[in-house]
């Protein structure tokens, strides 16, 4: 299951943003990821697969948030510790308590904590960086709003702004499009495209097969193992999708994938 862009980047002399080798993760007795070797090329990459395929697990294990039985993740050819400030993370929105006493600006400022002292006021420069990130996702006016009073889509954009405020070269995003309104989805897509245009890379867990070809240049089809990987037009074939989803792909999704493939 070698990867296209990784090799291309290697030929060009620079290591890929993310390179995973032999990654195996199990929850108890049940293996979730089995010997996944894959590298993400520069640009926008979507990770697709059925529920329980290990998409989020892949990202979390790469970041060291859950223990792996074996395997390694290298970022830009180095260990995570060496390049942590080049790697941004957007967790699933549902992973936190949005009743937490904080404003949107407070949450985005968290991205800058590694650059601050552990106590005292948030320095003006860091606060401005956080405000700029909020403006980037169209939430400049809601900076002082309590996060619990934001809509789901706005909360998702706060998380995106927080990731942006890390000012990273690679962003790992866990379901950035999960349960968001159309306006938020368009805002997020615009941000992803700006990131790619600026030479940054994004690896995003994605669940909507019909938009994969539209949003991403590269894809990893995952179902416990890496089923297929490469540029969307090569790797995102009905056969590969069927192999990843088994019989679980319903007719509607199938039709939309075909439609997306033709367009």
């Amino acid at each position: 299951m070698s990867a296209d862009g990784g090799e291309a980047a290697a030929r060009a002399g620079s290591p890929p943003p993310l390179e995973i080798r032999g990654l195996t993760v199990a929850y108890g007795e049940r293996p979730v990821l089995w010997d996944v070797t894959w590298s993400a090329p520069p640009g926008l990459t979507g990770i697709v697969g059925p529920n329980g395929a290990g998409k989020s697990t892949l990202i979390k294990a790469a970041l060291g948030l859950i223990p792996a039985l074996s395997g390694t993740a290298r970022f830009f050819g180095r260990s995570l510790e060496e390049v942590r400030n080049r790697v941004g993370y957007l967790p699933q929105r549902a992973s936190v308590d949005w009743d937490f006493p904080a404003t949107a600006l407070d949450v985005v400022c968290m991205a800058r904590y590694p650059r601050m002292r552990w106590w005292g006021r948030v320095p003006r420069a860091e606060r401005e960086a956080a405000r700029a990130a909020l403006a980037e996702v169209g939430l400049a006016d809601l900076a002082e709003r309590q996060i619990g009073r934001l809509s789901g889509g706005q909360q998702q954009r706060v998380f995106l702004a927080r990731a942006l405020a890390q000012d990273a070269d690679l962003y790992l995003m866990d379901e950035p499009f999960a349960a968001v309104d159309a306006a938020t989805e368009q805002a997020i897509v615009a941000v992803l495209r700006r990131l790619a245009a600026a030479g940054r890379s994004v690896v995003a867990v994605h669940h909507d097969l019909s938009t994969v070809a539209d949003y991403f240049a590269h894809v990893l089809l995952l179902n416990g193992r890496a089923i297929a990987a490469g540029p969307v037009r090569d790797a995102f074939t009905p056969e590969a999708i069927a192999a990843a989803y088994g019989g679980r792909l319903n007719l509607l999704e199938h039709a939309s994938v075909h439609a997306a493939g033709r367009s």
């Binding site: 942590r84 308590d97 937490f100 991205a111 552990w118 106590w119 927080r162």
Partner: protein, 307 residues
């Protein structure tokens, strides 16, 4: 009641109530925000074998060996929970319950074996505390407050409480931002490179230290009440993190002072022959504070909409 009585009999107990409740109130916000409010309850029981061991090894009911033993027990219990969760794949509430009750039960057995029971450790005192027995006989007048020798005669529980309270306040201040991040989004904290796991351990150690220091003076019931009630009340009253954390400490202190005053000194001053268990009154006030905060919140239309 004379000023000297106030100084000798009421001041030590009042200070103990204030320090214990403020320290627990400060730490409570972190537990409430992390949705593990009852960790304080669990930890305050899990430290028992450590307390007994500290007592048995030194043969004295001194503060520091017992505190050290309690911290070791809390650390061991916390690490064991992680281990049980990973190895047995059971949910964290069950792992916590299993480990902490085992520690507490082990402590009871250890108490019998070590002979600590026959000497001085009194379970009633662990439960209800002994605020009323804290006296300062060395006090001769208001001047004693500035007299180092007289101050050294303050009950040792008060010394321990003051030391632990100060340490807790300093650590919370020094770890302000990492703790905030840990409460909101521990995975993100780890992804940013913060030592999330060690911060969790540190937080648990602080809770254990506060519980042990407050134990003897105010009792374990009040420790649990003050770890939960002030923070829960503030949670209903504010949407600001700083106000939440500092307000929890302030509300704890206020409850401690008000509860102690209501239990004895105030009725006495009013000529009433009424003397109540101070820890009981403080704990009851804590529950009332939460109820009042809930009432206030439900009447504030802006807040109610987001509840």
């Amino acid at each position: 009641m004379t000023a000297l009585d106030l100084l000798r009999l009421d001041l030590p107990a009042l200070l103990a109530a204030l320090l214990a409740c403020a320290t627990c109130g400060l730490l409570g916000s972190f537990l409430v925000l992390r949705r593990e409010s009852l960790l304080g309850d669990a930890l305050s029981h899990a430290v028992l074998p450590g307390i007994i061991a500290g007592f048995a090894l030194t043969g004295a009911r001194a503060g520091l060996p017992m505190l050290a033993g309690a911290l070791v027990a809390a650390l061991a219990a916390t690490l064991l929970i992680t281990l049980v969760r990973r190895a047995a794949r059971i949910e964290s509430g069950a792992a916590t319950g299993a480990v902490f009750t085992t520690f507490f039960a082990g402590g009871l057995v250890l108490m019998e074996v070590s002979g600590a029971r026959s000497v001085d450790l009194d379970l009633d005192c662990v439960l209800f505390g002994q605020l009323e027995t804290l006296v300062w006989l060395e006090a001769t007048g208001w001047g004693s407050l500035l007299d180092a020798q007289a101050l050294a005669g303050l009950p040792r529980q008060l010394h321990l409480l003051a030391g632990v309270g100060l340490a807790v306040a300093l650590v919370v201040a020094a770890l302000w931002r990492p703790l905030k991040l840990l409460c909101f989004d521990p995975d993100y904290a780890a992804a940013l490179g913060f030592p999330a796991r060690r911060l969790e351990l540190a937080l648990n150690m602080l809770v254990a230290a506060a519980a042990v220091a407050a134990f003897e003076a105010v009792g374990s019931i009040l420790v649990v009440a003050m770890l939960v009630c002030p923070a829960a009340a503030m949670r209903l009253l504010t949407d600001d993190y700083r106000t939440q954390v500092l307000g929890g400490a302030a509300l704890g202190a206020a409850l401690g002072v008000a509860g102690y005053a209501l239990a004895g000194p105030l009725p006495a001053a009013a000529g009433m022959a009424l003397s109540l268990n101070a820890a009981g009154v403080i704990g009851t006030l804590g529950g009332l504070a939460v109820a009042l905060a809930a009432l206030l919140r439900s009447r504030a239309p802006g807040r109610a909409a987001t509840a």
